[in-house]
Amino acid sequence: MTPDMVPANYLPIVIFMVVAAGFGIVSIAAGYLVRPSNPYKAKLAPYESGAPVFHDARTNIPMRYYIIAMLFVIFDIETVFIFPWAVIFNQLGLFGLIEMLLFIVILLVGYFYAWKKEALEWD
């Protein structure tokens, strides 16, 4: 395979993306062309027959969410590192197992710490 070639295996993905984007565009465009357009104030409200809106939907969320999101990012990165290891596990043998165990033990320290400091508790 020469470096300048487009990876041909990606053709199905490109087709899939085109179809996905096309579906959205076509349905919205078709709806726009077919539907009657008759806007008035009550109809444009977020809840047409519901309670009136009184403030922004975005409010402060508690700090707890941040810790969970942060821990998710870190363990996500750890998972990504495990992937190439799993691919060549047969070639690495025991040595590879020890390498990965060391890596996981280091992160288990963090997990243990988070657990004991009640960072995973929801109050």
């Binding site: 942060m70 990165i77 190439p84 691919v87 060391l102 890596f103 992160l107 320290v109 963090g110």
Partner: protein, 175 residues
């Protein structure tokens, strides 16, 4: 075909990058960032670096963007706080001029650098993640384990900064 795809991914990346820093609604910025990350992943695919492309999607688009959205919600930006600094236009002009100047200098130079051992042909022969795995778990073992310690520091740092009770909290209960 490659130049067409490259032009598409590169142009959309640049536009999405500009939108990320210039849009006024922070959530729209997040969506522009998502487009940017997706198209940079496309560039990696063009370079036959599929593993990096997938990592880009999983970590950046999957995890880090979510973290950004959480932070946006923590900050709760009010409409009036979403300033657009008009004088920034001057900075942008200056930086833009400097960039064009640098680009002209760089374009005048040779682009082909020395190739490392991991050429496209060598990588394609054994497969992308295999090539990365072999290097990472033999020659580059030390950096790999340092990354482990680094992530440990990040976990503990996040907990210390976000969770540690302040003296005021401590005086109230028996922790």
């Amino acid at each position: 075909m490659v130049p067409i795809f490259f032009a598409y991914f590169a142009l959309v990346s640049i536009v999405a990058g500009l939108l990320t820093v210039s849009l006024r609604n922070p959530v729209h910025c997040g969506i522009a960032l998502l487009a940017l990350l997706g198209h940079v992943a496309g560039l990696f695919v063009l370079l036959h670096a599929e593993f990096v492309a997938v990592v880009q999607i999983i970590i950046y688009a999957g995890a880090i963007l979510i973290l950004y959205l959480f932070v946006l919600m923590l900050l709760n930006l009010k409409t009036e706080e979403r300033y657009f600094h008009r004088r920034h236009a001057w900075y942008i002009t200056g930086v833009g001029a400097l960039t064009v100047e640098l680009l002209m200098v760089l374009l005048a130079s040779r682009f082909s650098g020395a190739k490392g051992p991991a050429t496209v042909a060598a990588v394609e022969e054994i497969g992308n993640s295999t090539a990365i795995g072999i290097l990472m778990f033999s020659d580059y073992l030390l950096p790999f384990e340092i990354v482990g310690v680094f992530l440990l520091g990040a976990i503990v740092g996040a907990i210390v900064l976000a969770k540690t009770p302040s003296p005021a909290d401590l005086s109230g209960d028996e922790r």
